[in-house]
Protein backbone atom coordinates (compact mmCIF):
# COMPACT_ATOMS: atom_id res chain seq x y z
CA UNK A 1 0.00 0.00 0.00
CA UNK A 2 1.51 3.34 -1.03
CA UNK A 3 -1.38 5.72 -0.33
CA UNK A 4 -0.49 7.06 3.12
CA UNK A 5 -4.05 8.35 3.67
CA UNK A 6 -5.58 4.92 3.15
CA UNK A 7 -5.41 4.04 6.84
CA UNK A 8 -7.84 6.80 7.81
CA UNK A 9 -10.43 6.01 5.14
CA UNK A 10 -13.37 3.71 5.82
CA UNK A 11 -12.73 3.80 9.52
CA UNK A 12 -15.14 2.57 12.15
CA UNK A 13 -15.03 5.96 13.87
CA UNK A 14 -16.73 8.99 12.36
CA UNK A 15 -17.40 12.70 12.86
CA UNK A 16 -17.39 14.37 15.30
CA UNK A 17 -14.75 12.01 16.68
CA UNK A 18 -12.24 12.14 13.83
CA UNK A 19 -8.90 13.66 14.80
CA UNK A 20 -6.57 13.17 11.85
CA UNK A 21 -6.91 15.70 9.03
CA UNK A 22 -3.88 14.94 6.90
CA UNK A 23 -1.04 12.45 7.09
CA UNK A 24 2.11 14.11 5.82
CA UNK A 25 4.66 11.37 6.37
CA UNK A 26 4.59 7.64 6.79
CA UNK A 27 7.30 5.02 6.75
CA UNK A 28 7.44 1.54 8.19
CA UNK A 29 7.56 2.68 11.81
CA UNK A 30 6.71 6.40 11.90
CA UNK A 31 3.74 8.54 10.91
CA UNK A 32 3.23 12.30 11.13
CA UNK A 33 -0.11 14.08 10.72
CA UNK A 34 -1.60 17.55 10.95
CA UNK A 35 -4.93 18.32 12.59
CA UNK A 36 -6.72 21.64 13.01
CA UNK A 37 -8.76 22.37 16.12
CA UNK A 38 -10.99 25.38 15.61
CA UNK A 39 -13.96 24.80 17.91
CA UNK A 40 -16.01 23.69 14.91
CA UNK A 41 -19.03 21.47 15.39
CA UNK A 42 -17.61 18.85 13.05
CA UNK A 43 -15.04 17.89 15.68
CA UNK A 44 -15.84 17.22 19.31
CA UNK A 45 -14.30 19.53 21.89
CA UNK A 46 -15.48 20.63 25.30
CA UNK A 47 -17.42 23.69 24.17
CA UNK A 48 -14.41 24.63 22.08
CA UNK A 49 -11.79 23.54 24.61
CA UNK A 50 -9.46 20.99 23.03
CA UNK A 51 -8.37 18.99 26.02
CA UNK A 52 -4.94 17.48 25.35
CA UNK A 53 -6.53 14.06 25.89
CA UNK A 54 -8.07 14.58 22.44
CA UNK A 55 -4.53 14.78 21.07
CA UNK A 56 -3.98 11.30 22.50
CA UNK A 57 -7.02 10.15 20.53
CA UNK A 58 -5.36 11.72 17.50
CA UNK A 59 -2.23 9.64 18.25
CA UNK A 60 -4.35 6.50 18.54
CA UNK A 61 -6.10 7.11 15.21
CA UNK A 62 -2.76 7.83 13.53
CA UNK A 63 -1.25 4.68 15.07
CA UNK A 64 -4.09 2.65 13.61
CA UNK A 65 -3.50 4.26 10.23
CA UNK A 66 0.11 3.12 10.42
CA UNK A 67 -0.93 -0.40 11.39
CA UNK A 68 -3.44 -0.50 8.52
CA UNK A 69 -0.76 0.70 6.15
CA UNK A 70 0.98 -2.64 6.56
CA UNK A 71 -2.07 -4.73 7.44
CA UNK A 72 -5.18 -3.49 5.55
CA UNK A 73 -7.31 -6.21 7.15
CA UNK A 74 -7.12 -4.46 10.52
CA UNK A 75 -10.45 -2.75 11.09
CA UNK A 76 -10.51 -1.32 14.58
CA UNK A 77 -8.23 -0.66 17.50
CA UNK A 78 -8.92 0.08 21.13
CA UNK A 79 -6.65 1.54 23.80
CA UNK A 80 -6.36 -0.89 26.71
CA UNK A 81 -3.74 1.21 28.45
CA UNK A 82 -1.70 4.43 28.33
CA UNK A 83 1.60 5.27 30.04
CA UNK A 84 4.05 8.11 30.59
CA UNK A 85 1.66 10.89 29.58
CA UNK A 86 2.59 14.52 30.05
CA UNK A 87 0.05 16.99 28.69
CA UNK A 88 -0.47 20.73 28.75
CA UNK A 89 -3.53 22.45 27.25
CA UNK A 90 -2.71 24.59 24.22
CA UNK A 91 -3.33 28.25 25.02
CA UNK A 92 -5.68 28.98 22.14
CA UNK A 93 -9.01 27.53 21.08
CA UNK A 94 -7.92 27.40 17.44
CA UNK A 95 -4.61 25.80 16.50
CA UNK A 96 -2.97 23.26 14.24
CA UNK A 97 -1.29 20.33 15.95
CA UNK A 98 1.45 18.19 14.47
CA UNK A 99 1.23 14.62 15.70
CA UNK A 100 3.97 12.03 15.46
CA UNK A 101 3.71 8.35 16.38
CA UNK A 102 6.45 5.75 16.41
CA UNK A 103 5.70 2.04 16.30
CA UNK A 104 7.93 0.88 19.13
CA UNK A 105 7.01 -2.74 19.63
CA UNK A 106 4.45 -5.46 19.11
CA UNK A 107 2.59 -7.04 16.27
CA UNK A 108 -0.97 -8.10 15.59
CA UNK A 109 -3.06 -7.90 17.72
CA UNK A 110 -1.22 -5.85 20.36
CA UNK A 111 1.06 -2.93 19.52
CA UNK A 112 3.03 -0.33 21.49
CA UNK A 113 3.39 3.23 20.16
CA UNK A 114 5.10 6.39 21.39
CA UNK A 115 3.25 9.57 20.47
CA UNK A 116 3.96 13.27 20.67
CA UNK A 117 1.95 16.37 19.76
CA UNK A 118 3.30 19.83 19.02
CA UNK A 119 1.57 23.19 18.62
CA UNK A 120 3.62 26.06 17.17
CA UNK A 121 6.62 23.75 17.57
CA UNK A 122 5.99 23.52 21.33
CA UNK A 123 5.42 20.08 22.84
CA UNK A 124 1.94 19.89 24.34
CA UNK A 125 1.45 16.18 24.83
CA UNK A 126 3.40 12.95 24.82
CA UNK A 127 2.20 9.48 25.63
CA UNK A 128 2.87 5.80 25.21
CA UNK A 129 -0.12 3.92 23.83
CA UNK A 130 -1.02 0.27 23.73
CA UNK A 131 -3.30 -0.52 20.81
CA UNK A 132 -5.33 -3.72 20.63
CA UNK A 133 -6.45 -4.34 17.05
CA UNK A 134 -9.11 -6.49 15.46
CA UNK A 135 -9.17 -7.64 11.85
CA UNK A 136 -12.26 -7.61 9.65
CA UNK A 137 -14.47 -10.66 9.94
CA UNK A 138 -13.71 -13.05 7.06
Amino acid sequence: MTDIMAGIRDTTWAAPFVYVDRIIHMDRRTAVALTVFNAGKDRFGYDGFASPSLLIECMAQLSLALIRHSDPEVEIGVIPSLRDIVMTPPHADAFQAAIRVIWEDGDYPRYAFAGAAFVMDEPVCKARLDILATRRAA
Binding site: F17, D47, S51, E57, V78, P80, T88, E122
Partner: protein
Protein backbone atom coordinates in the same frame (compact mmCIF):
# COMPACT_ATOMS: atom_id res chain seq x y z
CA UNK B 1 3.11 30.45 28.32
CA UNK B 2 0.76 27.61 29.15
CA UNK B 3 -2.96 27.40 29.65
CA UNK B 4 -4.95 25.77 32.41
CA UNK B 5 -7.22 22.77 32.20
CA UNK B 6 -10.54 24.46 31.61
CA UNK B 7 -12.71 23.07 34.39
CA UNK B 8 -15.70 25.18 33.33
CA UNK B 9 -15.76 23.73 29.84
CA UNK B 10 -15.01 20.18 30.96
CA UNK B 11 -18.14 20.53 33.10
CA UNK B 12 -20.15 21.01 29.90
CA UNK B 13 -19.83 17.26 29.42
CA UNK B 14 -19.32 15.93 32.92
CA UNK B 15 -21.66 18.20 34.88
CA UNK B 16 -21.23 19.40 38.40
CA UNK B 17 -22.39 16.58 40.64
CA UNK B 18 -19.42 16.45 42.97
CA UNK B 19 -19.30 14.96 46.46
CA UNK B 20 -16.34 15.21 48.82
CA UNK B 21 -15.99 12.52 51.48
CA UNK B 22 -16.36 13.81 55.01
CA UNK B 23 -12.86 12.66 55.88
CA UNK B 24 -11.53 14.61 52.87
CA UNK B 25 -9.82 11.56 51.40
CA UNK B 26 -11.86 11.16 48.23
CA UNK B 27 -13.85 13.21 45.77
CA UNK B 28 -16.48 11.71 43.49
CA UNK B 29 -17.87 13.21 40.28
CA UNK B 30 -20.91 11.39 38.95
CA UNK B 31 -22.29 11.50 35.43
CA UNK B 32 -24.71 9.53 33.31
CA UNK B 33 -23.57 9.20 29.72
CA UNK B 34 -26.22 9.15 27.03
CA UNK B 35 -26.58 11.95 24.48
CA UNK B 36 -23.05 13.34 24.14
CA UNK B 37 -22.15 14.24 20.57
CA UNK B 38 -18.94 12.16 20.54
CA UNK B 39 -21.04 8.99 20.86
CA UNK B 40 -22.33 9.59 17.32
CA UNK B 41 -18.82 9.05 16.00
CA UNK B 42 -17.43 6.58 18.50
CA UNK B 43 -18.88 4.48 17.06
CA UNK B 44 -21.81 4.82 14.61
CA UNK B 45 -24.31 2.13 15.52
CA UNK B 46 -22.47 0.91 18.64
CA UNK B 47 -21.64 3.87 20.87
CA UNK B 48 -18.86 3.45 23.45
CA UNK B 49 -17.45 6.24 25.61
CA UNK B 50 -13.87 6.80 24.40
CA UNK B 51 -11.04 6.09 26.83
CA UNK B 52 -9.66 9.62 26.43
CA UNK B 53 -13.01 11.03 27.58
CA UNK B 54 -12.83 8.80 30.67
CA UNK B 55 -9.30 10.12 31.23
CA UNK B 56 -10.64 13.68 31.15
CA UNK B 57 -13.34 12.73 33.68
CA UNK B 58 -10.66 11.36 36.00
CA UNK B 59 -8.57 14.53 35.57
CA UNK B 60 -11.61 16.71 36.33
CA UNK B 61 -12.34 14.70 39.49
CA UNK B 62 -8.72 15.24 40.55
CA UNK B 63 -9.00 18.98 39.90
CA UNK B 64 -12.16 19.13 42.03
CA UNK B 65 -10.28 17.29 44.79
CA UNK B 66 -7.36 19.71 44.46
CA UNK B 67 -9.52 22.84 44.75
CA UNK B 68 -11.47 21.38 47.68
CA UNK B 69 -8.43 20.17 49.62
CA UNK B 70 -6.20 23.21 49.07
CA UNK B 71 -8.62 26.09 48.53
CA UNK B 72 -6.52 26.99 45.49
CA UNK B 73 -7.78 27.56 41.96
CA UNK B 74 -7.76 24.72 39.46
CA UNK B 75 -6.25 27.25 37.04
CA UNK B 76 -2.94 26.79 38.88
CA UNK B 77 -2.67 23.34 37.33
CA UNK B 78 -0.93 23.76 33.97
CA UNK B 79 -0.03 20.17 33.12
CA UNK B 80 -1.05 16.67 34.03
CA UNK B 81 1.29 13.71 34.04
CA UNK B 82 -0.25 10.26 33.94
CA UNK B 83 2.04 7.45 35.02
CA UNK B 84 -0.40 4.85 33.77
CA UNK B 85 -4.03 4.51 32.81
CA UNK B 86 -5.89 1.28 32.12
CA UNK B 87 -9.31 0.73 30.61
CA UNK B 88 -10.71 -2.60 31.74
CA UNK B 89 -14.36 -2.52 30.69
CA UNK B 90 -16.34 -0.36 28.27
CA UNK B 91 -18.61 2.47 29.40
CA UNK B 92 -21.83 2.46 27.40
CA UNK B 93 -24.66 5.01 27.09
CA UNK B 94 -27.07 4.71 29.98
CA UNK B 95 -24.41 3.83 32.54
CA UNK B 96 -24.15 6.03 35.61
CA UNK B 97 -20.48 6.55 36.17
CA UNK B 98 -18.57 7.68 39.26
CA UNK B 99 -15.15 9.25 38.74
CA UNK B 100 -13.51 8.71 42.11
CA UNK B 101 -10.27 10.52 42.94
CA UNK B 102 -7.94 10.18 45.90
CA UNK B 103 -5.46 13.01 46.18
CA UNK B 104 -2.10 12.88 47.97
CA UNK B 105 -0.46 16.14 48.96
CA UNK B 106 3.13 15.79 50.12
CA UNK B 107 4.96 19.11 50.15
CA UNK B 108 4.65 20.60 46.67
CA UNK B 109 3.91 17.21 45.12
CA UNK B 110 0.29 16.76 44.03
CA UNK B 111 -0.46 13.20 43.02
CA UNK B 112 -3.28 10.76 43.25
CA UNK B 113 -5.23 7.86 41.89
CA UNK B 114 -8.53 7.97 40.08
CA UNK B 115 -11.02 5.30 39.07
CA UNK B 116 -14.05 5.05 36.83
CA UNK B 117 -16.66 3.05 38.71
CA UNK B 118 -20.07 1.70 37.73
CA UNK B 119 -21.61 0.51 40.96
CA UNK B 120 -18.89 -1.51 42.66
CA UNK B 121 -17.13 -2.43 39.42
CA UNK B 122 -14.03 -0.57 38.33
CA UNK B 123 -13.98 0.10 34.59
CA UNK B 124 -10.83 2.23 34.37
CA UNK B 125 -8.12 3.64 36.57
CA UNK B 126 -5.24 6.09 36.39
CA UNK B 127 -2.31 7.25 38.46
CA UNK B 128 -1.78 11.00 37.99
CA UNK B 129 0.31 14.00 38.97
CA UNK B 130 -1.00 17.56 38.79
CA UNK B 131 1.70 20.03 37.80
CA UNK B 132 1.83 23.76 38.47
CA UNK B 133 3.40 26.35 36.16
CA UNK B 134 6.96 25.69 37.38
CA UNK B 135 6.58 21.91 37.16
CA UNK B 136 5.09 22.24 33.67
CA UNK B 137 8.01 24.35 32.42
CA UNK B 138 10.46 21.69 33.60
CA UNK B 139 8.45 18.91 31.93
CA UNK B 140 8.34 20.82 28.63
CA UNK B 141 12.08 21.31 28.77
CA UNK B 142 12.47 17.56 29.32
CA UNK B 143 10.19 16.84 26.34
CA UNK B 144 12.16 19.26 24.12
CA UNK B 145 15.37 17.51 25.13
CA UNK B 146 13.83 14.09 24.40
CA UNK B 147 12.71 15.35 20.98
CA UNK B 148 16.17 16.77 20.25
CA UNK B 149 17.75 13.46 21.23
CA UNK B 150 15.26 11.59 19.04
CA UNK B 151 15.91 13.84 16.02
CA UNK B 152 19.66 13.52 16.51
CA UNK B 153 19.27 9.73 16.69
CA UNK B 154 17.22 9.77 13.46
CA UNK B 155 19.95 11.71 11.66
CA UNK B 156 22.79 9.58 13.00
Amino acid sequence: MTAAFDMARLRVVFGDRVVHAADGRSTTLTHGFGDESFLKGHFPGFPVVPGVILLDGMILAMLHAFTHRTGRSGAEIRSVAVESAAFHRPILPGMNVAFVSRLDLVGDRISGKASVMVGDVRHARASLFLLTQGDAAQRRADTRRDRHDHDRHDHA
